[in-house]
Amino acid sequence: MIWFVAGMLLIALSGVPGLFADRHGRGGERLACLLVLAGSAAVAGGVIIALASGAPALLTRPWTVPGGELALRLDPLAALFILPLCLVVGGGAVYGLGYWPQREHPGNGRRFRLFYGLLGASMLLVLTADNSLLFLFAWEVMAVTAFFLVTTEQERAEARRAGFIYLVTAHAGALALFALFALLAQETGSLHFPAAASLAGGSATLLFLLGLFGFGFKAGLMPLHIWLPIAHAAAPSHASALLSGIVLKTGIYGLLRLTSFFAVIPPWWGWTVLLLGVISGVFGVALALAQHDLKRLLAYHSVENIGIITIGIGLALLGRSFGLPELTLLAMSGALLHVVNHGLFKSLLFYSAGSVVHATGSREIDHYGGLLRQQPWTAVCFLAGAVAICGLPPFNGFVSEWLIYLAAFGASRGEGLNLRLAVLAAPALALIGGLAVACFVKVFGVTFLGAPRSAAAATVNHDAAPSMRGPMLALLLACAWIGLLPGTLAPLLQSAVATWVTPVKAVNLAAPLAPLPLVGATGWVLLIYLAGLGWWLHRRTRQAPRDVSTWGCGYAAPTPRMQYTASSFADLLVSQFRFGLWTERHGGKVSGIFPTTREFASHTPDAVLDRVLVPGFRSLARGCSWLRARVQNGRVPTYLLYVALTLLTLLIVTAR
């Protein structure tokens, strides 16, 4: 525990010395990076020690604020969230050296690193807090620091808008949590977190709904995902990685903690969560497919993956309400593993996307093309991340989705139709998987393959800097490790699920997870096959003539601009989801035998934010201004009238 706390403090203070360093020097950022690395190492060490000891590590100190108590609790459930956090936070610090160097960003570099460290530390505190007040405290600090990361480039209007919307949603969610924990304190009589499965009845329903709202906002559960795409797009890439990889997960963590308190789980909870998961998954990936801003697209994929995780949680909740420990175990371990996996491969994707953006200076996918030649490292890393996020073997994404599938299939064996129907999660997952493949083939192909579509892409001359490459490769290895040796994580998953709900201690994960090594083995074989065949093909085609151009199907002068773009690639598929996406298309109609030049543009705004909330709030604000102009009309007599009326009303009320 001491290691953990020390590491947390190191991370928190990592940005402070830099504040006093030279605006253009490298010392500050190097020192900060070093501190973060040391901190993450210490934290990871502390976690591993705590895990080895078996029992959850506790730390309790008095705190003199009303109801406060510095209570930390480090159990396997938290550990499962903390370990990827260490990797991503540490990696991000190194990545920043190359991606956001102080000399290129003298204005905001120091501020960025300060809040980066604070964010990391506050998340650690969120994941280990054992007291409502402390939790809220860390939660809000996390929200605010993340806000400052999003608005790093606050001179850009886009970043300001993103920051504002993020801040508002974060605060709204936090207020819901205020209510949640106040009611919880009323139930348990103290602000200390209750023990697992200790709450029965009471205002459970209200607590659950408040939690779903408050934590759902953070997790980016549809339709509460509004802040996510813009914020991820606006932040610097390693901040986006941290946001999408870890910050979202704190929402999931909160939901898990909350549900672990209750003794009995009514089935409709599981169904609600499951349904939300399916909606987030399908529409998240559909929206992603329709985007052509690289980072916005990745952000929507975060919504999708949160959906997958939530599907797992929903199944696990159903397993609990129907008393099927095996189902609970499979679903929850799948969900937890996907939490880890998404943290890893999404960060990998954001890092490599950042390297592309850094090189081309644009986030528009349709401006890329043929980058694989100049950026082989980035391309390989992105490819690996893409394969992983599509849930394809041999990478880690498949393993977690596989577990959730098994759980869904398991549900079909249960008695009672209201449980069996949960099996429908499986086709939904399949649809999500298929769409994800389509989307990432699109991104990878349009970005790295073919011919450059713009001058910016054609003049790219550098791959990711070594300091950016290192973290990317580390994450790549982590993904491959989980994908190829999944069995190694089984014990941790088992104990984590056991901390969430006790009965699964009886069942052991070994039986359901037995095939994992085989899955890994298949991955190995696949790799070997591909390598062998590829090597053979390479030898056979080594002396093939390479100076020919692509066969243009008889068209004489093909140009790069004629290549399929991201939009056109996705169009056929997106048109299937038109009912939910409302893609906007402008122009593009050609007529006549010799049509003149025509413009065509299509973009898909966020269904919830841009179609519902923004107009709604605009009219609300207009109404408020109107009312204000009437009430606050500047005339003293009117004001005195208010006083008189108040006096009369109160007198009448009391006289009655």
Binding site: T64, L136, V168, Y639, T654
Partner: protein
Amino acid sequence: MLAALILLPLLLVPVAWLIPWYRVRSWLLPVAGASHLLLVVLALGGVPDAAPGEWIGLDPLSRLVLLVASPLYLGCALYAVDYLEMRRERGNRTMVPCLLLFLSALSMAAMSRHLGLMWLALETTTLASAPLIYFNRNRLSIEATWKYLLICSVGIALAMLGLLFFAYAALRGGVPVSLLLSDLLAAGPVLSRPWLHAGFVLLLVGFGTKMGLAPLHAWKPDAYGEAPGLVGALLAGGLTSLAFLAVLRTLQVMNAAGALGMARPLLLGLGLLSLLLAALFMMRQGDFKRMLAYSSIEHMGLLAVGVGIGGLATFGALLHMINNSLAKGCLFLSAGNIHRAFASKRLADVRGALVALPFSGALFLTAFLAVTGTPPFGIFLSEFTILRGIFGAGRLWVGLAVLVLLATVFIGMGASVLAVSQGEPTERDMAFTDRFLLVAPPLLLLLAVLFLGLYIPESLRLLLEQAQALVEGGA
């Protein structure tokens, strides 16, 4: 020593009037403030609680208010030095004496154990602050002053009538008539109910006007909007706390008479109304100083709600009074700096304060976060405590309503504050930059709020609990 708290600034008034040296006159303010703070600290430690029958004395409530008001005043006084230095054209021959008089009246209002005396002191604060609002000497400021004066005078007159009703309640109850707090509390049970209730309503409306509870708030946006930043800070941080103290005093009497059950719903209603009004009126507020006024209304509403619920919520409300005053001080002072630098307080003209005035801009933004209840600042604790009180009292819907309104407030206020602080700065008065004395006081106030968010000294907790017991003990 208590007398000194009142007399010292009072004696300095003529001095300030007479001495010819501009800068020295400005420096009288910090001197008075510092010595006042020193005396307060000594008094808090040394002077025992007031015995029955004393007209001037301390009790936990007055200790709390002094504890808030004195540091805030010192901060504003320090700020005033450089501020007046920059506004030499305005002169400080009215400003300084009025501020000193304000301090004296403030101390008296906080310490008087006699409702009549307290009422008198409050009236004096109103009169002393009127010329301060008029500092800028233009049409708008005169208008603001007029409104402030008229509405507050009406309010204070109603409060007077309320006091007379209390007295008559005692007369009717057959006990010797006296407005001494101790006597009223002792006579509590026999006070005649109709008179008591009517009197409470009058006092609530009267002091509520001063406190700025909706719909009695109408003077606030104008006065806060037109007054210089430091005056706004004193009004929003000090005067409102005094008015709140006055309301608490009446509550004490009601409590002694066992009529809290009648008093609380009224407070709760006014509080919720204030929250609602503030929430709606902050939406797309184009003037950031008026926005601060609405924020002050919002927090007065929170105080009223807290007291209206009672129990833990009252404890939270008392804590909130401290945090709110300090945070408001920082907010108004930094806002004043931004106002000066951009020579405007319209959102349309003010952009990129973070770049233009690194310190003031950052302070403004941080103070906004603090005042909207973001950790690690104290307001987070007090708001959460109030909420716990509300939910603990089983008032589920009140709690949820308060939360929704707080969220709305955050949206409205956030939009304006971020618009002011972020972005590329618009053209501005380059002569004005962050000076030490213009930045240090708000910073110190903010640090105080931060401190209260991280650690609440045992003694302060005890004080708060005693104060709470005083308001509603035994009820």
